[in-house]
Assembly symmetry: C2
Homo-oligomer: 207 residues x 2
């Protein structure tokens, strides 16, 4: 099974690498990092570069596409090679998925019209611009389209997807392999649980 | 604050990128990916390459070192540039940390002698070879030395470390920023919770 993850300048690393770590462990799966122009793509922090080994043109019809987010999505909302690639690939895919603000790219490509979808909590409302119905859930499944909330939610989404693709035993074996029994030291990972001053702090820093 | 993450052939991507995603968000922190020879380093699956931008020699005394794991650690257990670098850096560091089998490299460098430590569950016992006391916990703190269990445990460890470095408010803001309110679809992430046939399956595949 061919799984393609498009990269672009200023993507968020964990959006892509969390799901990669899960999906690459599905027996028979190949994960390819693709981009308009192959080569190293630097993340939002500029401190890390991941290689896009393959051009979009070389991977036109993956069985699974997984679109990460990050500040770099803002420069891609006008039609261009990545949106064209998403639109074409979605027409043939078995699964079309996103993490974080990757859902805004799915939306801009026309994939989310009339569907429930999620995104990073700071950009959740933006989804309605694309005819999607924003839903405050960590993973939202709508037929073959699965969207995940911010950054780390991609790991949960990928385990759900692994179970759909290869069965629950395989997904559980992968979960045990990456020892994903999370114990966050704080209960601050969502706007519902975080102290209100933390929510305000992060919201203010984003504007 | 300078944080260095050494990379090597066949490391496990999430071991490094999970903590990077947390630690790079600490105000004033710089995360650098370092290697004996700078350049792209390919992960255990061979499907992903991350750039090591800096040589070990250019980053001899980071304030934080974070050593990821992966099958590639096996080739590094005999003394060599990475163990030498760990030993020297640990002598000056504020924090010396590892994820997954990265703790075996800390052990081989002599850092864990007499300390409690953890590792990927499949390699936990190996720690005793280095004079460490293996502990089946997700994050183990021993003074300035912090070790994390397998792969995804690095995210929990990095949030703990972020709180030590910059305070709980900053750590909570980072947790909310990466929306780390995990909801794994299965309860199979540790040997204590996973179905026994899954534990056997993963154990057998590793041998």
């Amino acid at each position: 099974m061919e799984i393609a993850i498009p990269l672009f300048d200023r993507f968020t690393a964990l959006d892509a690498v969390g799901p990669y770590e899960v999906l690459s462990r599905i027996p028979g799966a190949t994960v390819r990092f693709v981009a308009s122009e192959p080569g190293p793509k630097r993340t939002d922090t500029r401190m890390l570069a991941i290689a896009a080994d393959t051009s979009l043109a070389e991977a036109p019809e993956p069985e699974v596409l997984l679109v990460p987010g990050g500040p770099g999505t803002r420069d891609l909302m006008a039609d261009g090679p990545i949106l064209e690639w998403i639109r074409h690939a979605h027409g043939r895919s078995q699964w079309t998925t996103s993490v974080c603000t990757g859902s805004l790219l799915l939306g801009a490509a026309g994939v989310l019209d009339g569907l429930e979808a999620t995104s990073h909590w700071l950009e959740l409302k933006t989804l309605s611009r694309f005819g999607a119905r924003p839903v405050e859930r960590r993973v939202v499944e709508q037929g073959k389209v699965i969207t995940a909330a911010g950054v780390s939610a991609g790991i949960d989404m990928a385990l759900t997807l692994a179970a759909r693709i290869a069965g629950e035993q395989v997904a559980q074996a992968i979960q045990l392999g990456i020892e994903y029994a999370p114990e966050p030291p704080f209960d601050a990972g969502s706007t519902r649980s975080a102290p209100s001053q933390i929510v305000e702090l992060v919201g203010a820093a984003a504007n």
